[in-house]
Symmetry: C2
Subunit: 344 residues, 2 copies
Amino acid sequence: MSIDAMGGDNAPAMVVEGMEMSLDKHPGTRFLLFGDEPRLTPLLEQHTKVAAVTEIRHTPDAVKNADKAAQALRSGRNSSMRLAINAVKDGEAAGIVSAGNTGALMAMAKFVLRTLPGIARPALATYFPTKTGQSLMLDLGANIECDAENLVQFAVMGEVFARQVRGLEYPSVGILNVGAEDLKGKQSVKEAATILQDTDLPIKFHGFIEGDDIAAGTVDVIVTDGFTGNIALKTAEGTAKLFGGFLKDALKSSVISSIGALLARPALNQLKMRMDPRRYNGAMLLGLNGICVKSHGGMDGLAFSNAIGVTADLVTTSVNESIKADYARLHEGEPHELAKQAES
Amino acid sequence: MSIDAMGGDNAPAMVVEGMEMSLDKHPGTRFLLFGDEPRLTPLLEQHTKVAAVTEIRHTPDAVKNADKAAQALRSGRNSSMRLAINAVKDGEAAGIVSAGNTGALMAMAKFVLRTLPGIARPALATYFPTKTGQSLMLDLGANIECDAENLVQFAVMGEVFARQVRGLEYPSVGILNVGAEDLKGKQSVKEAATILQDTDLPIKFHGFIEGDDIAAGTVDVIVTDGFTGNIALKTAEGTAKLFGGFLKDALKSSVISSIGALLARPALNQLKMRMDPRRYNGAMLLGLNGICVKSHGGMDGLAFSNAIGVTADLVTTSVNESIKADYARLHEGEPHELAKQAES
């Protein structure tokens, strides 16, 4: 696995810590670690388990958080991020993880790895905690404006993911909209729903879902454009944080409730763990000829180790091959009007 | 105040209960109650306080939840909803509250009351609980696709509302986007931000905010299109519900934590109250020549009484007059390109 050592607020220390933690769950992993060797060597000396399975590939260059995607693409050819992606392209690594600049990572990954045949744009996907477990949502910001065909492609990719990686036999797919009725919503979501209703693919298409269906776990795969998906994800994160803050305030509001909180602490910690965003860290860029996972830039080693776990899951389940096959099936027979557009 | 007695899942009983509760806070209110007299009379006999300040206006017709907006507009001319709106138009009532079909209410209100000069479309606005108090968000679903000028109008309406109704001296306004940087996001939000940055109006324009800024209370007024706003609102509701469910599960997970929960019950009830969606009930349709408030269809009397309270606040603060004046100021001097489009 290829790792961008220099991305993220607390890189590279956070990255190496995450690598160490990930080895408990995925002991067979071997790493190519791209970054500034003088900074990485002492870290590996402190983490001997990581050192034993890691090869450092030195580069002094790193993409900055403030860099624009186009700029990073032009001038970041020797950056740790770019070289880590190249390793996947060159077959040296099975997947790449970076906690760096999201826009730059998406641009570089798309440029180097290219999209799968028929897939116009890769989508950023992540798990969402739900009442019944977890759902996959995509896109989360890779594509700000999406047409119906983009949404259909996201549905195919998400469904394959849920089947292959999560092992669900017959995952359900819903499109995020402002109402469950067929007549409501944007033109693009209505068209996408029509295509998915008519498809021969074994997609269990639920139809439209609303914002509150995300946390309710109404469907296994939530399809939306990157603008809406990004805002929904962050709104959910913000609301969970608000609720947690209110809970803390409430429990501190009297001596008796503080005692109650003390007694309930194990339970409250369990709640905290269930809602912990680090557990859901690791956004997958689906639809490329290669595996690329984005770790949150502001989190810690535990979160990074989760992103490594997500990458390992993707590697072992050949998701991309299945996306390719399913997408081809969607448009087989007479070539579909929209497929032709997407391929052009 | 004009009340649609027949809208909402538990109408008309829930409606009359809400009217009774609202009289504690707004004792001077007088009601025109539109609906099926044979069903309303016994309810008023049970609620004598309401009966003393209410005049029933009988109609057997009611808009159904399943009715499409256009259909309700055509065939619902004698519905309780329509007659209640007419009462505002005719100057018989200062505002109207309905818990009925949202699409029908918006269509009828827009048709009967008309938009304010220069305002192309009314917007649905509601309060959101935040870390620091509450913020106003609009639009929440009245307008599925919005251009830059629509968003600018929402900003003006929201800012006036926050100043007049909430009494904030200098409310801050932000546009919901996928990043805080100027270069990110949809064309429409970027254009709207440019217009708001350049305006002479006393709008404290914060710039872009992200989904997690909603609950953080980063700005007083959150501007977005109706598609995104509706999904953000419902995602937040769903997440709060999920968190509440997880909390309940956690506290029941052991005997000791159950005891802890018992001790902390007053604090937990306080939390429940702070997050109670009934407290934030009452979505305002801003930008019309008249006050129209939508109450949630699936809630109870307490929630309906809150919607009546929201209507009373709007009535006493002449929001519409100020929106008209501010919007005129936004485009005074040389007529603005976009304003001309909006007025055409």
